[in-house]
Amino acid sequence: MNELANEPLDEKLSEFFKSEFPKPFPAAPRVIMPARMARGASPKAARFALAACMLILACLAIFWPKNINNNNSSLRNGPASASDDKRHQLRFLNGKELPGNISPTNPK
């Protein structure tokens, strides 16, 4: 391999290239860690967290119990009529319970 090393041309080339090579060799560029990474949140961790959130959302969408709304249809649809609406029935007036089903909408 070093048949190249003993020839005058090699000496000249070696001198030339060594004179071109920077001395001292430049140091690495000064780099600053981005703030989010300095806090310990690596891009991989952020991506993992995002993927986990998406997975949880997907699971909720698939496995969310659909019959909750069926059992409590009044909550979903509201009262069938105004008389069914408990909010419209007045059972107490000035602290006394009214007799029967007297309500403002049906005073008799």
Binding site: L9, K12, F16, S19, E20, F21, P26, P29, M37, S42
Partner: protein, 172 residues
Amino acid sequence: MQKEFQSYYDAYSREVWAVAYGRGTNAETANDVLQETFLRLWREMCKGVEIREPRAWLIRVARNLAEDIARSAFSRNGTTEPGLMDQVKSRTELPEYVVLEKELHGQIREGMQELTTQDREILTMRYSMDYEIPQIAKALGLHASAVHMRLSRARAKLAECLNQKGIHTAGI
């Protein structure tokens, strides 16, 4: 991550410099390319991009950057690299050996322009970093026999160029 970056710099910066120098034969430009190449590496690392073969990545980026700079320099100046201006006479007198050395280096640099970029990369690694042929082959992703052949051919061509300029390779 900064330690990882520094380890890449320690391992590959000289090869990156050699590749950049091989394109433009200008040490200052090679220094700029070196810095920019590693800044790009840092940006990729900050983005979380996984670079599987950092050496090959760095050398590819350095080649592209050096190529861009050489093209823009050519389009700006319409001429070759400013390193050739080293041959211009100085106003101050220099000792004779310094003059001779500068002249020789100018001739070598001019002869280098006759070679391909890859041949110049190989010569730079061989003579500025004292790399052996297997090391050059590994750094540049070439077969050792190809490096050997290219190195021999490049040397022969350079010797011919120097002889044509009246510099005999056996004498100085």
